[in-house]
């Protein structure tokens, strides 16, 4: 019985924790970018302006939720929910601490990749159902960007799988007792990080919603809480990618004993989120053809070379995970 209660605690803890973290990120990101750009950022509501997160949510709910008459109504409403559902499903396999996990699948890594690949339908259907040229262009860009970056997003993790001998995230964390995979798989880490940013279509890879050329891209016609769901989905994507990177490449919950395991994971996730925000503040957006040729001409060969070298070394040394 206590096991059943425990699993519910983990499920609701994960749901509420990630959702409230996503809400706080709205404020935190603006404040951090402000810091890096030598200005204050939002600092009026509450201590350090943290009330902004709450004010923003209230604003979202209070805004008029307008469905354009020319839009395909049901798809239009359905599209923003896909990203939230698939992102939340992705969190199911993340091990927060030893034994604290919703489910330890032996295909955990593949489950995560499958859920992120389903998230593309949100953007696609949103762009398609709006019947707006900007939305359609944004949706098209998102589809080609996410499908291409997905290819080596999966492939870049296979080096880690080779060294672990399992797709289970718990096994991957346990395999990093002596050495983090960021040291033994630096190329895989580099490619996965870039693919992860592209997959969650964050700046500098936010071409599906590039403001200067596509108005707001796939969510041009969205307002109120439906737009809010896209936004929360994006922040959930950032948290999910950070959690996966921390788990796979930075040893997950592993760390010296003076802090509990969950805190180590939280510190790693927090640092990675800050890095994501720094990227947004520091790097300009590439052109779309630059983005695609970066993917197919640089990232994919790099990933394949990494696989080849890792596989060669594993066979040469007779390494047994």
């Amino acid at each position: 019985m206590s096991d059943e209660v425990f699993i519910y605690v983990i499920v609701f803890g994960t749901l509420l924790g990630t959702l409230s973290l996503a809400a706080v990120l709205i404020w935190f990101e603006r404040r951090l970018i402000g810091l890096w750009q030598d200005r204050l950022g939002p600092n009026r509501v509450g201590p350090f302006g943290i009330g902004l997160a709450l004010a923003d949510i209230l604003k979202m709910f209070a805004k008029e939720d307008w469905i354009p008459p020319f839009a395909d109504k049901f798809v239009f409403i359905f599209a923003p929910t896909v990203v939230l559902i698939s992102m939340f499903m992705g969190f199911a396999v993340i091990p927060w601490a030893p034994g604290v996990q919703i489910v330890d699948l032996n295909i955990g890594l593949l489950f995560f990749l499958g859920m992120t690949s389903l998230a593309v339908y949100s953007v696609l259907l949103g762009g398609l159902s709006s019947h707006n040229k900007y939305s359609l262009l944004g949706g098209l860009r998102a589809a080609s960007q996410m499908v291409s970056y997905e290819v080596f997003m999966g492939l870049s993790l296979m080096g880690v799988v080779m060294l672990t001998g399992s797709f289970s995230l718990v096994a991957i964390v346990n395999a990093q007792q002596n050495l983090w995979f960021v040291v033994s798989q630096p190329l895989g880490f580099f490619v996965f990080l870039i693919a992860g940013i592209a997959e969650s279509h964050r700046l500098p890879f936010d071409l599906p919603e590039a403001e200067h050329e596509l108005v707001a891209g796939f969510h041009t016609e969205y307002s109120g809480m439906k737009f809010g769901m896209f936004m929360v989905g994006e922040y959930l994507g950032v948290i999910l990618i950070s959690s996966i990177v921390a788990t796979i490449f930075f040893g997950g919950w592993l760390g010296p004993d003076f802090l509990p395991p969950f805190f180590w994971l939280a510190i790693k996730i927090f640092t990675l989120i800050c890095f994501f925000v720094l990227l947004r503040a520091a790097i300009p957006r590439p052109r779309f053809d630059q983005l695609m040729s970066l993917g197919w001409k640089i990232m994919l060969p790099l990933t394949l070379a990494n696989l080849l070298v890792t596989g060669g070394i594993v066979l040469w040394t007779g390494y047994q995970p």
Binding site: V75, G114, L140, A143
Partner: protein, 172 residues
């Protein structure tokens, strides 16, 4: 029919119904939505039969990549104003009631299965490692033939794209 087989029959029924609907729809978009649900249902069937690796590949490769490309083509063809009008006639809101209901059933079933009191069908689960050993052991010839086919398709697509480009350049 024992209660343990219930999820399997539900998933199988959903996949059959959605496949039938995918074939019988006029609009390509609706057909594709039903097709996605059919693939997800098939993935659940795979999972229940003890092949989690095949289930996840079904979601990743078919639902996550191939159908996205189909939708991509549909979006490209809908770009003209006539296509927009046609799409407007085709995309009626009530078309979307069935996919969402089927999706919800699948979703609740997946939650039920993952809550994992017991695996409903007590077949032996095949781990990804065993699949890999089989693929690169007894079935290595089939894998190599498939990879040859893919390489041929890749070279062919590249060739077609090149010729198209050089033709238009020659005319202009």
């Amino acid at each position: 029919m024992s209660i343990e087989l219930f999820p399997f029959y539900v998933a199988a029924t959903v996949s059959l119904v959605s496949t039938l609907l995918a074939v019988s729809r006029y609009s390509p978009t609706h057909a594709l939505i039903y097709f996605i649900i059919s693939l997800l249902a098939t993935a659940v069937v795979f999972f229940l039969l003890g092949a989690p690796f095949a289930a996840v590949l079904e979601i990743m490769v078919y639902a996550g990549a191939i159908v996205v490309l189909f939708l991509f083509v549909v979006m490209m063809l809908n770009l003209g104003s006539r296509g927009d009008e046609l799409a407007h006639q085709w995309l009626k809101p009530k078309m979307w009631i069935m996919p969402s209901i089927l999706c919800l059933i699948l979703f609740f079933e997946l939650v039920y299965v993952l809550s994992g009191t017991s695996t409903p069908i007590t077949g032996t689960a095949v781990s990804p490692k065993e699949v890999g050993i089989q693929l690169f052991g007894p079935y290595v010839l089939a894998v190599e033939i498939a990879s040859m086919l893919l390489l041929a398709a890749l070279v062919g697509a590249y060739h077609l794209g090149r010729r198209y480009l050089s033709d238009t350049r020659g005319q202009s």
